[in-house]
Assembly symmetry: C2
Homo-oligomer: 251 residues x 2
DNA sequence: CTAGTGCACTGGTCTGACCAGTAGGCTGCA
DNA sequence: TGCAGCCTACTGGTCAGACCAGTGCACTAG
């Protein structure tokens, strides 16, 4: 009994080894954004594999948002600066497969936005405050004219808050989840009858939030932002999911 | 002036068209998890492209976690149930490229875990409560023996809370961010001198959190969970990032 | 000095081939 | 009859070599 405990061996495909190596180089900073990879034919020599194998590796890296290639480019594939595109993609998939309901998404936004406001109230700079103020100004102008413009201004307000939170993860997640939510209900809002009233009320709410942020009252800003979002979206969330949203308003 | 406004034409690669089609089928449920794609040679006929093109498309789909293929399998690639693996991958990349600091990650965990507790206090079932209790029991047993076991029990506590929140997005994000944080500091904790004291204190904190959840006091559970996590991780977060963490304790 | 033209290279795609695996049917033995 | 073991027809992974439409650059002709 006993004896050496062998580990199961998973065969590693050649293209995976290539992916690993290049990924490693990017993540450790050996390859920096903007730099170019060697051409496919060059890589094929360096890794001593065929071109198809190199290309499969590049496809994976591209899907992960690490590199991008362009036909005819005399240089090889370009190393990209990190972007949440891949993250966005997989979260969108998650939502589309219907694993995620609108209620969950809105709830998550409430959580993120509230935290962003809480932190922003503490950490915001005066410029960021001015940005938020300007965004509300644009919301006010757009409200009577175009829902699209209003929505853009709204987004830039929340984005300014997220940036002011000082937490890139909050910023990215906010961005990703927001665009998914908007994608799900943009049409409903745009064709809604009372959307003008909704926009006006939303502006008033945003002003209150901003006041709290300006005053440095984080908990208040957080609470108000939750209420703002609840009020704005609750109409589009199925009845049975609303209690879960309301649970967040308790805090 | 005027005239038709032409849109820039982006050339779409053949493999991208294939990716889109299969992705669409998966997301709309035409292809369900467990089902098999036709073999590569079959797909090549259906899409009338070469096998390399088919394979590049499959590599992309695989990188996105939608399908998986196995050599020799008489069926084609398998459609996978959604897993956050791809999400995990891109977030890990984000962290590794050093775009994300430990402070930001811990802060994000505090936000997520607090929300999970807030919701769990409201929505938890008795079984979930029992799971949390059992997890703390295992933490208690493991604390004197093995940090690894303690950590596993700790994870399962937080996971039970996240599940009890009823929000899959919270659950997934928690999972992803936690494993990244643990990956970053596992070694430091394991080799820490006062880790036994740290574990004991952590257990006491977890008990308090659980009490609040059991009592249905969401805000208290949220606050306690933030404090628990702060206390547990603050020692590993660089001095200059700590104020941002403390800002979260205010709420 | 510049406008224009090649050329040498790129990535995208195709064809056709080989290999090592796998599953399922078939064979032949007990 | 039952089953062990082999055969075969597939699978995906990899390779080699080819063509094409783009691109950027050096060179050339004006």
């Amino acid at each position: 009994m006993g004896g050496p405990r062998f580990e199961p061996v998973r065969t590693v495909r050649a293209y995976e080894r290539i992916v690993e190596q290049i990924e490693e180089a990017v993540e450790t900073g050996t390859l920096r954004p903007g730099q170019r990879l060697p051409s496919e034919r060059e890589l094929m020599a360096q890794f001593s594999v065929s071109r198809s194998t190199v290309r499969e590796a590049l496809r994976v890296l591209q899907a992960r948002g690490l590199v991008q290639s362009r036909p005819g480019d005399p240089n090889g594939a370009e190393v990209l600066p990190f972007s949440p595109a891949a993250l966005h993609k997989s979260m969108t998939t998650l939502a589309r497969v219907d694993e995620l309901s609108l209620g969950e998404l809105v709830q998550f936004r409430m959580v993120l936005d509230a935290s962003a406001n809480l932190l922003a109230a503490r950490l915001r700079t005066d410029e960021q405050l001015a940005e938020m103020d300007a965004a509300i100004g644009r919301m006010r102008e757009a409200a009577e004219v175009s829902y699209d413009e209003f929505s853009k201004a709204d987004v830039s307000f929340h984005d300014a808050v997220a940036r002011a939170s000082g937490n890139k993860l909050i910023q990215i997640s906010t961005d990703v989840v927001r665009s998914i939510v908007l994608g799900l209900i943009a049409k409903k809002i745009a064709s809604s009858d009372d959307r003008v009233a909704l926009m006006r009320r939303s502006i008033r709410h945003h002003e209150e939030v901003l006041d709290a942020v300006r005053a440095g009252d984080g908990p208040l800003a957080a609470r108000l932002s939750r209420e703002t979002m609840y009020d704005y979206y609750v109409g589009y969330v199925p009845e049975e999911e609303r209690p879960a949203l309301r649970a967040l308003l308790e805090e």
